[in-house]
Amino acid sequence: MLTLALDIATTAAILFIVSAGLLIVFGVMKIINFAHGALITAGAYAALVGMRLGLPAWMAPFLAFMVGGLLGMAIESVVVRRLYRRPLDAILATWGLGIVLGQAVIVGFGREVQFVAAPVAGTIGLGGTDYSLYRLLLVAAALAIGIGFTFVLNGTRLGLSTRAVILNETLAEGLGINAVFVRFLTFGIGSGLGAAAGALITPLASVDPNMGIPWLINAFMLVMVSGSALSTLAVACLVLGGMQVVISTFVSPILGGLAIAVLAAIALRLRPEGFARA
């Protein structure tokens, strides 16, 4: 029972880490970044490179954030900026960029599966069960990301400008806020977060050039359900991630793997505006 609860908490945390960047981009720009999956992959490879260079493992997410952030800013300024008025084309173009990134990774690193060591290994005894320490660490990471971004958004001038752009772009421009720059920065940060997520989850699994795609789908569905608030994203991750764990444990892992996508699609049909204004 405790293991199940821990599984749910850690799964939700992982989902939150993976989706947060996508949500931030969607919230500010109303654009879905389908390159998010490839950015997750890029972050994982950044962690791999960091390990080969002998950097300490705790630096991997930060290195990945930098790599993803730079990639994101490049993507925004070259491609996404031209597609604000064509949101469906923005999905396609970012998906295309995802293909490009994925193939570039293959050219650079080959197709084979590789492994990255976790910064902390082993398990911790909790109420009679042993549980992976690293998975628990990811809960802390998710909390840090959630709290950090809530603080930036609500406690800083940049956050205020960003909220102003989200709420009313024309008015914000009239007050001297450079909405183009806010979006550029947002896309960079969202992409950086995606890559950092890739670095954070690799020690749990492995690194391969297509690892980002399944995560992209789940993250996308979670963001659709959440609207644009980090708090509702957290709830969505807990509820849908929880369903995934329960179904995987008691019914079948295959159905569990589909739980988020299918349940989110049904939830959106029943409540089209998402759960942000529940």
Partner: protein
Amino acid sequence: MPDLLTPRRRIALAALAAGLLVVVAPWIVDTYTASILARAFFVAIAALTVDVLWGYSGVLTFGQSAFFGIGAYALAMTFTHVGFDAGGIALAFGLAVIVAGLVAALVGWLSFYHGSTPLYASVVSLVLPIVLVQLIYAGGETTGSSSGLVGFQTFDLDLETWFRLAGLATVAVAAAGYLLLHSDAGRILAALRDNEARCSYIGINVERLRLGILVVCAIVAALAGLGHAALGGVAAPENASFVFGTQLVIMVALGGRGTLLGAVLGALGIELASAYLSGSLPFIWELIVGIAFVAVIVLFPAGLIGALRRLIPGDRADAAPRLQTAAPLPRADRDMMVEARGVTRQFGSLAVLNGVSFSARRGELVSLVGPNGAGKTTLIRCLADGLERTGGEISIVGRPIGRLPPHRLVAFGLGRKFQAASVFNTLTVADCLRIARSRRDPMSWFDRSPVLSLPQAARQVIEGGGLGDRLGDVAGDLSHGLKQALELAMVLALEPDVVLLDEPTAGLTRAERSAFGAILTDLVRREGLCVLLVEHDLDFVREISSRIIVLHQGQIALDGTVEQVVNAPLVHEIYTGGHVPTAETAS
């Protein structure tokens, strides 16, 4: 010359030429190329369905691969587990059609509902192949799991025959698609893509139509998948995968969306090039495709065909139809046209409308005025869409509207003109009007009619408004004033009893404005329409109204004749903050 080469003859000639090419090609190209192309033809048919859904009707779909996969597995599973005989063949075809149709109906029900967004439909289309592939993985021996089904007995045809079969099927699907989509009725798909709201307010059941299109496209894609599996003797999870679904979109985008030919060229080109290049340039090739795809989306959204069209500007305009006056419909024998009782609209805790009651009769032109935020546009919305209001009752021509969606209210005799001119931007003026008439004059799915029947009033607006000789022009290219006139004519083409107009004169010149006023008063007097008008320009309101309703803070502040309202101190207070020095000097 134009008479000899009508669009239908042109497409027949093109199809004939393409068919000939397909028949001759196996004698020219080498076996390897022929085998690649034979398979590619089936992919091209699936790409054609993506083009119909995305390029023509505006729903970006990643899920056509799922239907392709359903067809492939229908054949592979039947031939593997039931056997390859006449019964098995019939069963395979039957299963492909029925399962694809049912799944499409389910997906369509999920994707299209009143108020659904194009993004949501894309979301569902993305989930479908993912679910299907997982089911295939979980299917064990039945589906062959991750390795798919191979080694079943299938049609024993030589490559040349397969090539011609597949090629001719592609030509047939493309030609039939072209005829359907460019028929009078087929333009509705483009209308859906351009402006779904306008379609609803013309009386088209948008959701049911979209569902129907999806079911047809799904069945065609399933049959393509069935052919693909029969030719290759294999059905693999990749055939149904989300990645293949996106590849289909890439093919259509590169070839040119909304052209059909672009989908075929894109599919054949990419399949051929990847067969040749993925060997010599293993990963670089996909990198190139990815870069090309991004570049095309950003720089040439119309794709290869679109770029070619820009280089070779041909006269693509259809001959404009001849106008005809439709026989007038008998008018409802009833005087009371609009009755609203206690209409309320809340947004959260904010009541934009708070207990609005009024009525309007035949032959009245009632203007709704009031400051911004008074609730005028909200009231119009509540009258035109039964789902909008949060309280109160509304009857149109004596029938309570309940919670009915807009397309049902059109049948009650309601026409609504939006504030910003709402027409079909990529269609011609004639097509816009014809679609507006679709409830009265059923349209052909195979042909273009040389005549266009319009009721007298709509014809007056078209001819009097300067659109008479521009029927063949694309609506999006019209000036603002002409677009407004076109939308009014589209509304009048419905032969409504009640017309709702939301700021129809915004952005019009003074001359256009007075011409518009004359048309309205004439309609009310001669046709006995009941017109409800939201308007800011009080001069205009005073000239044309038979009654004025003043809305203020979500309630009716005043309801009376022009003189009563114009002279009411309350109106001065609302509009100018009171104490205006009254001066009777003539201007």
